[in-house]
């Protein structure tokens, strides 16, 4: 089940990359200087690291470890 959740989270993240909701908005400026669209994609990148951690933790192809 956790493997499906990890793979599902990757698919969801791929969809969330297409963030049409901030398409024409620059404000608010996060921290006073980061346009919201740029901040969203910076946060998306950090979220990617989190989801990839889920992937390697719960969906690791353990049979490949035998090749060592």
């Amino acid at each position: 089940m956790s493997r499906r959740i990890a793979v599902g989270a990757v698919a969801l993240l791929y969809v969330l990359h297409q963030d049409f909701w901030f398409w024409r908005e620059a404000r608010p400026l996060v921290f006073g200087f980061l346009p919201i669209g740029l901040f969203y994609h910076a946060a998306f990148t950090v979220a990617s690291a989190g989801v990839l951690w889920l992937l390697v933790t719960f969906a690791w192809p353990t049979h490949l470890d035998d090749s060592e």
């Binding site: 398409w23 998306f44 990617s48 090749s67």
Partner: protein
């Protein structure tokens, strides 16, 4: 002069790394030389794999793109890569590693030949992969010449700069093989990480704070769209998520996946890859956008004026004027200009070394071509059997020298614009080759004929798009030329920024058609071309 001295010191350091790597493996076997004996540790594996993917484009091209197009650059190229590349490493890279370890493969073509029980079709795949890779090497030689010329204020001419950089790259690849290349790439990534963070702080302080700069950009109708994505279509934005697929299909990345000592080292690389992307791309893109407000710097002001002339609605410009203004408005050097204007000398020196590291990223591609030639051609056609393993390594080294020398001669004779186009479409080409990897690793019914169909389609599609780009001049921004239509519906169009298919970048239809061809042709030929059960058991035991 100090930046030039720092750059020459950097060249000396990477040369020494090559010599050191040579000393540690003097009696190298082919696996030692081409794959560092499959022994890279977790930190070098992470930094070097990342560095292998970062070219001059990541540092200079990204800020230039952001200067002209705004914050959209990060979503187009960085955040999509931060997800897609590690996912490809997870599903494909780890399996390539395991197959390489179990079967002794050193190149993707070796795996394809074994998986689909084919010989000459593997050679066709080799040719397409090699042809798509060569322009990168030539571009890097040109980049080396240009950067040394700029940093020394013309004391080192282009031809000599290209020769110096090519010789250094050739020497450390020749001597150090994969081990030397990996160490240099790890150093390069460290330099990028250091430079990006420091540059943002120093330039921000020099400009009097970023908040004021952003408010000023928002207040002007000419620059406020740079802080949104209103100038690009959602289809265009979506298309870009297909580009990072190319990373795993590049031969130098496939080969690099086989160098890790342990498959578990992929875990750290996969998780930290997005963070490295953020640390390197965010400063590049942000500074590129902010440069639009650095009007106190004369070189940047000239670029902004050229852009304004290009965008003027009633400007009667000849194609020559338009080309000249485009060249003036190009922003690939905006970070260099910002550093010149706002940063102290020591940071300019560090930047010089980082830029030099970026343009020297061709090392992995040269080594990959050498590995592919010696394994997929020399060894496959009985060279190793006839002449022995030592001769195989010697051939690999000789190939490094020949490739570099040929790239240098071409770089001196042919205009860069031709190779810019070639590299632009090589990404799409490699994305279209991904179905080969997916089918080989995950689909039992795939056949060599399906692989051949995908490969030939990729070659034809890349040539077609490159031809359209070269034959039809770009129209003014905001307009399109129809290349092919069905009734009232335009199918293929030529816009100011490239060629489009139904509003999408060519990479999308190229990759989808490649996958469809792989499926249809494999299903049509599986009755006589499906590999035997012993082969399939080795690939699909689990």
């Amino acid at each position: 002069m100090i930046p030039a001295l720092v750059v020459f010191a950097y060249l000396g350091v990477v040369l020494y790394i090559g010599i050191f790597a040579f000393r540690t493996t003097r009696q190298a076997s082919a696996e030692d030389y081409f794959l560092a004996g499959r022994s890279l540790g977790p930190t070098v594996f992470l930094l070097s794999l990342f560095g292998t993917n970062m070219t001059a484009f990541s540092i200079l091209g990204a800020s230039g793109h952001a200067f002209a197009n705004g914050i959209v650059t990060f979503g187009l190229m960085a955040s999509s890569s931060a997800l897609v590349i590690p996912v490809c490493l997870f599903f494909i890279g780890t399996r390539l590693w395991a197959l390489g370890k179990r079967n002794g493969f050193m190149t993707p073509v070796q795996m394809f030949r074994d998986r689909w029980e084919c010989r000459h079709i593997g050679t066709v795949i080799f040719v397409v992969q090699a042809v798509l890779l060569v322009p990168y090497i030539i571009i890097a030689v040109m980049g080396g010449g240009t950067v040394l010329q700029a940093i020394t204020n013309g004391y080192v001419p282009f031809w000599l700069g290209g020769a110096i950089v090519s010789s250094v790259v050739m020497a450390y690849v020749f001597l150090g093989g994969m081990r030397g290349t990996a160490w240099v790439n790890a150093l390069q990534t460290t330099l990028f990480l250091l430079f990006g963070t420091i540059a943002v702080f120093v330039i921000g302080r020099g400009m009097g704070g970023f908040t004021e700069a952003m408010e000023a950009l928002l207040a002007s109708p000419a620059t406020s769209p740079l802080l949104t994505r209103e100038r690009v279509s959602p289809l265009y934005f979506f298309s870009y998520t297909f580009i990072p697929l190319s990373s795993i299909a590049f031969p130098h990345i496939c080969i690099f996946c086989m160098t890790a000592q342990n498959v578990r080292y992929f875990r750290k690389t996969i998780v930290l890859y997005p963070i490295c992307m953020l640390l390197i791309w965010m400063p590049s893109v942000f500074l590129g956008v902010v440069a639009n407000q650095a009007t106190a710097i004369p070189a940047i002001q000239t670029k902004l004026e050229a852009r304004a002339q290009l965008a003027a609605p009633n400007a009667a410009l000849t194609p020559t004027d338009r080309a000249r203004l485009r060249a003036q408005a190009a922003g690939d050097d905006v970070i260099l200009r910002l550093v010149d204007g706002y940063a102290p000398l020591w940071l300019a020196a560090l930047l010089g070394a980082a830029v030099m590291a970026a343009v020297m990223a061709s090392d992995s591609q040269i080594l990959a071509l050498s590995t592919m030639f010696t394994e997929d051609i020399f060894a496959f056609y009985q060279g190793t059997k006839r002449f022995g393993h030592e001769m195989q390594v010697l051939t690999g080294r000789a190939f490094v020298v020949i490739v570099t020398a040929v790239a240098y001669v071409i770089a001196l004779r042919i205009p860069q614009s031709i190779f810019d186009v070639a590299t632009q479409y090589a990404f799409a080409g490699y994305s279209a080759l991904v179905p080969l990897l997916v089918a080989a690793l995950f689909w039992k019914n795939s056949t060599r004929w399906g692989a051949l169909a995908s490969t030939l389609w990729t070659a034809v599609a890349v040539m077609s798009v490159a031809t359209i780009q070269n034959v039809i001049p770009p129209p003014p921004p905001g307009s399109e030329v129809t290349v092919w239509a069905m009734g009232d519906q335009s199918i293929i169009t030529r816009g100011a920024t490239g060629t489009f298919v139904l509003g999408l970048l060519p990479v999308v239809p190229m990759t989808i058609i490649s996958a469809v061809l792989m499926i249809l042709v494999s299903l049509g030929t599986k009755s006589f071309a499906r590999p035997g059960e012993p082969t399939l058991r080795r690939y699909f035991a689990q």
